[in-house]
Amino acid sequence: MSFNSNVFINCPFDKAYIPILNALLFTFIYLKYTPLLSETTSSGDSRISGINSLISKSKYSLHDLSRMQSTKKNEISRFNMPFELGLDFGCKTYGSAEQKTKMLFILDKEKYRYQKAISDLSRNDIGSHGNNPEEAVREVRNWIRKIKAVQIDSANKIWNLYGEFTGDFREEVDALEFNQEDIDNMPKSEYCDFIESWLKSKM
């Protein structure tokens, strides 16, 4: 794993977020980045040290704050995502010379909602996806284009390819008679491996 291609993804892992997460993982892998998620940290370490390790070895990071607000009665706000964003800012601010080059992208579901929740974030790279995976792909693709300043494929192309991948994945999973529970609960690191395998057929 290389610092310059690693992307730390700070996001929820609930079922409702999976369509956005899957599309984001595909986008990063297609654009030659290596997504790192906190679910992949070793169980031998405390969760926080695992997250710190992922943050410290990633030049890029995506922080999705779209689920930080409680949506049900008696449910309190979810602080994990803003907390990990703070850790990442700390790493960029106080870390090594290499870590000071880190680039952070923040996503939310609404364009200016963060100003009410974390006004300190003003003037950072912030996008909104409206809980729509296609818009999440578009935001990430445009952010990569902006920071890399090289020509890359359009969001439309990436979204179509993601559609192709999901179609082929479903077809093969059905043909091999996989248990749907196993597919739905597959670790995301394994899902990323399958994306990489499929992309080999497109090279």
Partner: protein
């Protein structure tokens, strides 16, 4: 076949699956529904209703220009794959 060997086989099949290019997709795009064929960026039709897009996509299958239609949900995930027989 063991589960481990099924995963291995899935990986191997995915490594060539993207080459087939024989499916049409009904996919959400910016609040509408588009039809495209694999390996071709050209949009074959844009519709406000998914059912209308699906009917048009099935015509592509029936004319022999695609093997099946992948019907996506509004979140991009696959709802089902249809052939003329299904």
């Amino acid at each position: 076949m063991t589960t481990a060997s099924k995963y291995k086989l899935l990986r191997e099949r995915l490594e060539v699956a993207g080459n087939s290019g024989n499916k049409a997709h009904v996919m959400p795009k910016r609040g509408r529904w588009v039809i495209f064929k694999e390996g071709d960026e050209k949009v074959l039709g844009t519709f406000s209703r998914r059912n209308t897009a699906l009917s048009k996509a099935m015509e592509i299958v029936e004319s022999g220009n695609a093997k099946s239609v992948v019907l996506h949900k509004s979140n991009g995930m696959v709802e089902k794959i249809l052939t003329t027989a299904s």
